[in-house]
């Protein structure tokens, strides 16, 4: 087990290195020069050359990448080309924002997803069941930016129940989290429903009912408790997706999180910022993979480590 974890950690570093290299190559292949973007259109070639030199962008590409890696292993990701802010400072701040957004989206998805799933399972085959399944299907088929725009105008402007944008007041995260969470409500309610249906038909539930326990107790204490495992597994894997999946939502709601930062930095060709953001997300992604795989290994000893993937 220990050897397995060590091997996986080593692989993690290979992946992170690969991610940084791909990002670097990509940003050197794409058209668009941060220096020209920074300067104004009347800038003369000598100004361009001078600014490029000061930013160290006139060095050979290999040297630039080597310098980046040498600093990155010491957790120094440099400063943004444009804001001149240290990348790690900006990332830490914006990561916090996205975590708040994602956790609320996650909470909404869990609450609604589980309760809808339980309800659908209990009323299996009813109109209510099809309403919930149909609604979930719709939610998952709509473009998130469009849902975001509609939520914003209806609940932000017209009804004025929640703030329209920003993170400056309580409740600011409600609409973006709803926009982001809708698609996960579907997957979570689906798992809950299936899992509940399985559990309800099990012997011990029948026994519990036979013992004359109240239906509520049977459902909540016995059935749901056992149905929770697959839900938690799913929720764990979806968390990573939520973190990275908030780009356009953050854009529409003016939320200064990782997603918006990612879009901003690729548009501005702000390589240090983009590298930092991509690495941050990759670390979370790889780590959540690792944790899920290891916990699988604990739960299901049949999984062989020798094939480790």
């Amino acid at each position: 087990m220990g050897a397995y974890i060590l091997k996986r950690l080593a692989q993690t570093f290979v992946v992170l290195w690969g991610v940084s290299l791909v990002t670097f190559i990509l940003m050197n292949v794409v058209p668009g020069d941060p220096v020209l973007l920074m300067l104004e259109r009347r800038a003369r070639p000598e100004d361009v050359a001078r600014v490029r030199h000061e930013m160290g962008l006139d060095k050979p590409r290999a040297v630039q990448y080597f310098e980046f890696v040498a600093k990155a292993v010491r957790l120094d990701l440099g400063r943004s080309y444009f804001t001149k802010e240290p990348v790690t400072t900006a990332l830490t701040r914006r990561f916090g924002v996205t975590v708040r957004l994602a956790s609320l989206a996650y909470a909404i998805a869990l609450l609604l997803g589980i309760s809808m799933g339980v309800a659908a399972a209990l009323k299996r085959g009813s109109a209510f069941d099809s309403l919930i399944t149909g609604g979930a299907a719709l939610g998952i088929s709509a473009p998130v930016f469009w849902v975001a725009i509609l939520l914003q105008i209806v609940f932000g402007l017209r009804l004025a129940w929640f703030p329209i944008s920003g993170i400056r007041s309580p409740g600011s995260f409600v609409l973006p989290a709803a926009a982001l969470g809708i698609r996960y409500i579907a997957s979570i309610s689906r798992v809950t429903r299936t899992s509940m249906l399985e559990v309800i038909s099990q012997d011990y539930i029948r026994t519990a009912r036979a013992k004359g326990l109240a239906e509520k107790t049977v459902i909540l204490k016995h059935a749901l408790k056992n149905a929770l495992i697959p839900i938690i597994t799913l929720a764990g894997t979806e968390l990573g997706n939520l973190l990275a999946g908030s780009m356009l939502t953050e854009w529409v709601f003016a939320i200064p999180g990782m997603g918006k930062q990612m879009v901003d930095s690729i548009l501005m060709r702000d390589l240090p910022m983009l590298q930092g953001t991509v690495l941050y997300v990759a670390v979370i992604f790889v780590m959540s993979n690792l944790v899920v795989d290891i916990s699988y290994a604990f739960i299901d000893p049949r999984i062989r480590y020798s094939h480790g993937d």
């Binding site: 794409v30 058209p31 668009g32 020069d33 941060p34 020209l36 973007l37 920074m38 300067l39 104004e40 259109r41 009347r42 800038a43 003369r44 070639p45 000598e46 100004d47 001078r50 600014v51 030199h53 000061e54 400063r79 444009f82 804001t83 001149k84 802010e85 701040r93 708040r100 956790s103 609320l104 996650y106 909470a107 869990l110 609450l111 725009i149 914003q152 105008i153 932000g156 402007l157 004025a160 329209i164 944008s165 920003g166 993170i167 400056r168 007041s169 309580p170 995260f173 408790k225 056992n226 929770l228 938690i232 854009w251 529409v252 709601f253 003016a254 200064p256 901003d264 548009l267 501005m268």
Partner: protein
């Protein structure tokens, strides 16, 4: 199992409480003006960016030696009076107003001004707009790393200094009025180092930076030791909202007091009884034009045909819903060099076709137009789409490609854009800043590639002449040459811009240079 559920519940509780506790304190009943701003993608230091949206903020905190007033006159700000150039036109002697305080309590001295300029020309600063100031003697040497002090800057005493130019340059004071020449305090700026404009930003302006938060808002408060008329507002909050639609919703809900209103949505708002009275108009000194790259089309007949195929009347009336004024010159009305007697540019599809046939394209030709995707649904993108339709009628097949701004900048500088649509606003009220767009050295990096010794000669002449009437004639001639003889650029229209202002915000208007200045604004509820 029990553990798992408890953990899940615990996480939920933590999540919920974190989210509700992070409420920002709402502004008390102070007079705080909330301006809906585009997020700054740079520091506040105007040496390190070229964005108007940053000027909107930084101009309240730092000041320049001189500035344009609302009537387009240059007026002294930090200096006692406007200096007159010496007899040879090269040396300007300035005297600072005595006792001007920076926000940190220190007094402005001539050495701070010297520091500001030397910092700008020190290569490691990475200043971007040095080209506006390289006429100062010794500036090129500093930029080349051959000198560490500015030869043309002489400190006479704490309040008096002289700036010497390498040759006479009539728009020099106009250059000094640009935000790029904002004066910084030497000590504080040096102490802040790389964090200048990021966490620390100190000037002599009527407002001081209280909280610089690039993600959410920059908050400023009134500076009570201000050397001029003190501000009436208790503070200004520059609230960052990226998406203009989101910004408008915040305005409608009353969370911001002032914001730009895009001309494309103006007709809808002007028809709305609630918002119509809150719309203000502003005519920036600028022009929307089509640039046709000489590298792709150097036959003047084809160029004229393109100009002839564009119906500027339809653009201003139907596309812009009469919010714009049809261009008859490149230099906009209100600026020196605008020729009010110039007739409308001709619209004549048949003549355009005939010219194309004459030029060897009887069956029409293909062109490619590039537009930034950020402008795709805005005025520029729509105008290009209309132009695409109009050119089709004359047999010109214009392919439109949207690219992102960074790609666009690359293509433009490499001269690879065959046809583009652009807007250009003067950042100081002198035609020189505007019309240099077609000067060969700049035109090359703009993918226009206009190379006319005659035109360049007129501009060079205009810079040396101080007599206003003579200068005016030169710019009229240059404008005519570029837009009616060589068709170097095709002016389409002059935009009107709009902003929304809550009725309780009083006493402010847009500066002619297209920056919001809330110095004298007040909130009366």
């Amino acid at each position: 199992m029990e553990m798992m559920r408890k953990n899940a519940l615990g996480i939920l509780l933590v999540v919920m409480s974190v989210f509700f506790l992070t409420a920002a304190a709402s502004a008390a009943e102070k007079k705080i003006l909330r301006y809906g701003a585009v997020p700054m993608k740079s520091t506040l230091d105007m040496e390190l960016n070229t964005y108007n949206m940053v000027m909107d903020i930084s101009d309240h905190i730092t000041e320049t030696l001189v500035r344009y007033d609302d009537d387009m006159n240059i007026v002294p700000v930090l200096v006692k009076e406007l200096p007159k150039p010496s007899a040879d036109g090269k040396t300007y002697r300035f005297e600072l107003k005595p006792g001007i305080k920076f926000h940190d309590g220190t007094t402005l001295k001539a050495s701070d001004v010297k520091f500001t300029f030397e910092r700008m020309f020190t290569p490691s600063t990475g200043a971007l707009m040095t080209s506006l100031y390289t006429m100062i003697e010794g500036a090129p040497e500093m930029l080349d790393g051959k000198a560490t002090t500015l030869k043309g800057f002489k400190v006479i005493n704490d309040n008096v200094f002289e700036i010497t130019l390498s040759s006479p340059y009539s728009p020099f004071l106009a250059c000094l009025s640009a935000s790029y020449a904002s004066i910084y305090p030497e000590k504080a700026c040096k102490a802040a180092g790389k964090d200048w404009g990021l966490t620390t930003f100190i000037g002599t302006g009527p407002f001081k930076a209280e909280k610089i938060d690039f993600d959410n808002a920059v908050s400023t408060v009134r500076f009570d030791d201000y050397h001029g008329t003190k501000a009436k507002l208790d503070g200004i909050e520059f609230v960052f909202i990226e998406d203009p639609n989101t910004r408008r919703m915040e305005y409608e809900r009353g969370n911001i007091d002032v914001m730009w209103l895009d001309a494309t949505i103006y007709p809808e708002y002007s028809k709305n009884a609630k918002f119509a009275p809150e719309i203000r108009e502003f005519t920036p000194m600028g022009t929307i034009y089509v640039n046709l790259n000489f590298k792709f089309v150097d036959d003047v007949k084809v160029r004229e045909a393109v100009s002839l195929a564009i119906d500027r009347g339809v653009l201003t009336r139907d596309l812009m819903k009469s919010t714009a004024k049809e261009a008859t010159t490149f230099i906009p009305p209100g600026m020196m060099g605008h020729d009010p007697s110039a007739p409308k540019y001709e619209f004549n599809v048949e003549k355009a076709k005939a010219l194309l046939a004459e030029a060897g394209y009887p069956d029409g030709l293909e062109l490619e137009g590039i537009v930034r995707n950020t402008n795709a649904t805005g005025t520029l993108g729509r105008t290009l789409l209309s132009v695409q339709n109009m050119l089709a009628a004359a047999g010109i097949d214009l392919k439109v490609t949207q690219v992102d701004p960074a790609t666009w900048t690359d293509m433009r500088n490499a001269g690879k854009v065959p046809l583009s649509i652009g807007n250009w606003y003067a950042d100081f009220a002198d035609p020189d800043g505007l019309i240099t767009l077609m000067e060969s050295s700049i035109s090359r990096t703009l993918s226009a590639n206009y190379n006319s010794p005659e035109y360049d000669g007129l501009l060079a002449e205009g810079r040396l002449i101080t007599d206003a009437a003579k200068r005016e004639e030169i710019y009229k001639k240059a404008d005519h040459l570029a837009t009616r003889v060589d068709y170097a650029t095709m002016p389409l229209f002059h935009e009107t811009m709009y902003y929304l202002t809550k009725p309780y915000v009083k006493n402010f208007k847009m500066t002619p240079t297209y920056v919001f200045h809330f110095f004298g604004a007040d909130i009366v509820k």
